[in-house]
Every structure is written in C-alpha cells, then in structure tokens.
Symmetry: C2
Subunit: 319 residues, 2 copies
C-alpha cells in the first residue's frame, strides 16, 4: 500500500513555492497507485490555467537548446515556467540525456524555472503514463507555462508532445532519414515547424520539402484554419528564437480566438475518461470471469477449438 | 455493410493455390468490419502450422535484402513462404517502399512465394491492426513460413515484429543514432541480431556494443535460456545469409524443445482475447451510458467541477 498523503496540503505547499514538495508530488505520480490517483484528482480540480508547449524531434535536433531559449523569453516576460523532459528510459542513452540536462543548466539557479526529467519506463506498452499527471501537478502548482520536451520521434513521444496546446516539431536540414518512419505522425501533430541548424547545407530543400507536405495536409487543427509556419533557427547562436516565440504566441492567440483551445482540451479530457472507463471495465471483467475460466477458454483458443472473438463473447456472457 | 462472404470457401481456394483469392482475403481483413471478422475466425480455426519470422530495423538497414536471402534459403528447402511487408502509410515514403519491392522482385515469378505490402494506416493509434489477421490468413492458406518485415523502429513496428516466433533485428555499423529512441525496445524483442553492411567501418564496435547490452539483459525469452546471437552480414553480396538462417533454425529448435514456442503462442492469444474483451466492454459501456450522459460528464470534467476518474465511475454506476 502507498503511504497516506494529503494531496491538497501538498499542492498548496507546492503552489506557495516549496520545490521539494513539488518534486515529491511528481515522484508520487510517477510511482502510480492510490497516492498518485489522489494527487491527480485533486490537481485536476485545481488546475486548468497552464498553457502547454510540446517540443519534439529526433535526438540531436537541438530541442533542449530551443527549449532553453523559450524559457528565456518567458522569464523575460516575468512568467514562471516548468519544463518536463520526457526521456526514453533505456540505460543506454544516459550520455545524451546528461548532455541535455547540462545545456538546460543555464536556468538551474532561477527560482522561476522548474526542470524535471521523466522516464518513459522500461518496456513496450509502458508509455509515459505519468506525464499527463505530472503536467496536472505543475498546472495546479501555479505554473502558467509548461514545456514538455520529448526525446525522439517514436509513436509514444509523438503522442505525448502532440497532446500539448502548441506542438513544436524540430527538424534539421536533411531530416528525412532520422524521422522517415514517423513523418506522417509528425506532420499530424505539428503546430509550428522549426528547421534548426538552418546554417547547414540543405536547409532550403528541407523548407521546400516541409512546405510541400504542409500544402497536402490539412494541418494539425484538422480544420484547415491554421497552416503550421516553418521557422528557421540556429539555436546555439540564439538565431530565430524570437521568431519561434512569436509563432507560438500567434498560435495561442489563434486557438483562443477561434475557440479551438477549449475544444481541443475538452476532447483530450473526453479521451482520458474513455481510457479510464476501459481500464475499469477490464478490471471488472477480469474479476468477474475469474482466472480459471479465462485460462480454460484461452487453452481452447490455443488448441484452435475456439477463436478469440468467441472466447471473448463467452467471457462476457458469464460476467 | 460488408458484402456477404463465404470465408471457408475462400480459404479453401487460397489453400489450393488461388493467389487472386488469397489477395482478396487479405484485402478483406485490411478493410475490417464483419467480413474481416468472419475471415479471421475461420482462419484461426484452420491455422496454427505456420512459423513466423519478424524482421525489423531502421529504414535502409537492409531488411528487404536479408528477407530476400531468407526466402531463397526456404525455397532451396522446397518450402513455400509468404512475406508481409508492413509499411508506414505516409504518402511521403513512397520512394523507399517502391525500392524495397523492386529488390524483392527476385521472387516475383516464383509460385511458391507470396509477397504482400500492408500499410499501417494514416493516423496515430491506427496501428497495423490487420497484420495479425493477415498472418492468420496466410497460415490457414497453408504457408509453413511467414516473414513479417516492418519498416522502422518505432513502437508499432517493434510490437508487430516482436510478435513473431523468431524476431530478427537488423542494425548497421554506427547504428546508435538511427534507433536511439527505441534501443531498449529492440533489445527486448530481438531473438537474433544482424549487423548488416558489416564491411563498413565501426562493425567491430557495434558488435562490442550489442554484446555488452546483451550481457546486461535477460534476453527476449525473459528467462535467460536464450542469449541472442549476433550475426555479421553483407546482404547485397549474400555474405552471412547462411549464418543468419542457421541461427533462425537454431532458435526455432530451442523454442520447440524447451516448450517456449507453445507457451509464447498461448500468451499472445491470451493477450488478444483480453484486447477483444476490452473493446467489447467499451462498446457495451458506450451504448449503455448513452452519448448525452457521457457528454454532460465530460463537460463537468472540462469545467474542473469533476475529475476524470469520478466521471468514469459515474458512467460505470449508470451502465
């Protein structure tokens, strides 16, 4: 059993600026279980004010440097900002992640910036389930901006980054090979494209390539009302960071004035209710059908006496 | 509504060698719906003999050339073989896929070889759901070997390839960057590793790298009884293809003698029953709760009057 927690008291302390408590809350939601659940419920009722920015792209594309530039802009406006860096948890990628964290170290001493790494857990299907809960905690803790940086362009990373209010997809000149397998996924989630390292050969072709694809697609909003802009940056020199920040603000203004922001957020919450419902129903079915009956029917399926759909029907009839 | 089909008659014709009917059956399962369902049920009861080999790796790693070499070995033994090439359906990857199909053209005139491409569908979450059904059809149609080649190393591709009896992961010297985001996933599914293009610089380091990781992991079987071998190949010259084929046969023999083959297959079918059950329960809950009630509760969640878990509980209580 998880130790008892008083989620409300912890969130109040985090909102008052207690960073140790904030770290503890995120660790709680990472661990899952009853305490995580209580934190998530409470944080949901207290949140709703944070604006989220997703930043994704292939490893080495320059996401951390761009995130750092965004943080600088937000701080210049006086806003507090939290950064969640969602890393694949492979023990074999430690070097790259360490490098990223070191780059973000510019902001390490700034009390208005909170930076946290999260693992996506070790196995297939073990998505970064805790990420939405961590965003909820940061929202309830009063951060008006949460930047979610995901390392990589796999399905999981794309889903996490695509769930943000504004999603920034970072590519480099000659990006084709690095993201070949998931170009369609990236096109679908991008609200703003960045060609970083735009001083390298191939930047013009990459822009043409992107703009050609964008002309074919209906854009991330799906309604054709927003055509994702393509911003060129050289993040290590700070070039283009102003343009990126301007496009993010323009996208936010577009979402707010068109009503799309509220609609997108409501849709995401609806999906979440549906996911929770499915999980509860499965627990219920498993409990009701009992292990032995399930094992018997699966034995029949394995022996080809029964097909999987009929097995599911029999389990449902018995529940 | 799907047109009525006689799945049994179609499968009998496919088993007798009617390739047009086989193509039609796979198109049926790709389309989904009631006809697909009937084909899947019938094929399940008639199958169970095919041995499946998954081949995955980053785009350009040489999967198609290796698959072609495997097909040549199987044909030399007189066995019929089917190849399913599972491609991301992005309209932007047409070139690479066309190239792959051309390379597989060696076998285009061989009646004992059946080659078919399948798309993974256009959107996030739209996994290649039809792939297991297509494998079922090929199994029921009497192919003793089915090779499933997936393009890319994303979560979806890794899941599809990892569901095969023997999974071959193809890397190249200096593979790190191409698969960085999903190295852990690849380590988990690999029964046999291939370092293709092993005549290029860095092959020795790549082997050391892989063997170091394998020493840390418990192997794909999870029980430590099988240590995935690392095979070096230069597929375009045919070098190493014999070794790869020998390792695949050795893995099959290991699975059969240890009882792991039957256990793995039963586990996969159990997972499938669970997935079907969940989908049915969700349909049932959606029908029972009705659209209006769901919309009302989601409205409360969006307005932060209610949290998503409580909304799910209320829907369950009302169903």
């Amino acid at each position: 059993m998880a130790p008892p927690t008083d989620a409300d008291a912890l969130l109040t302390a985090a909102r008052a600026g207690d960073r140790g408590t904030l770290a503890r809350l995120i660790s709680l939601v990472e661990r899952g279980g009853a305490a995580a659940h209580e934190v998530g419920r409470t944080a949901h009722l207290q949140g709703g004010q944070a604006y989220t920015i997703g930043v994704t792209g292939a490893p080495g594309a320059g996401k951390s440097t761009l995130t750092s530039a965004l943080v600088r802009h937000l701080r210049a406006d006086g806003d507090r900002v939290a950064v969640l860096a969602v890393d694949p948890s492979s023990p074999f990628t430690g070097g790259a992640i360490l490098g990223d964290r070191v780059r973000m170290g510019d902001h390490a001493l700034d009390e208005g910036v909170y930076i946290r790494s999260m693992a996506t857990r070790g196995h297939l299907g073990g998505l970064a389930l805790a990420t939405p809960e961590a965003v909820r905690v940061l929202d309830a803790a009063g951060f008006p901006w949460v930047v979610i940086e995901t390392v990589g362009v796999g399905q999981v990373e794309v889903e996490i980054a695509g769930a943000a209010d504004t999603t920034v997809v970072v590519v480099n000149p000659g990006w084709g090979d690095a993201v070949q397998a998931n170009k369609a996924g990236l096109m679908e989630i991008a609200d703003v494209f960045v060609i970083n390292k735009a001083d390298r050969p191939g930047a013009a072709e990459t822009r043409r390539d992107l703009e050609g694809m964008l002309a074919l697609s209906s854009g991330a909003g799906g309604d054709g009302s927003w055509r994702p802009p393509v911003v060129a940056t050289v993040a290590v020199d700070g070039q283009g960071a102003d343009d990126l920040w301007a496009e993010i603000r323009r996208h936010r203004a577009h979402l707010e004035s068109s009503g799309a922001l509220a609609r997108r957020r409501a849709d995401r919450l609806g999906d979440e209710v549906r996911r929770i419902l499915t999980a509860r129903l499965l627990e219920r079915a498993t409990a009701a059908t009992g292990g032995a009956r399930f094992a018997d029917l699966c034995g029949d399926v394995a022996a080809r006496r029964l097909d999987p759909w009929s097995a599911a029907d029999e389990l449902l009839a018995g529940s």
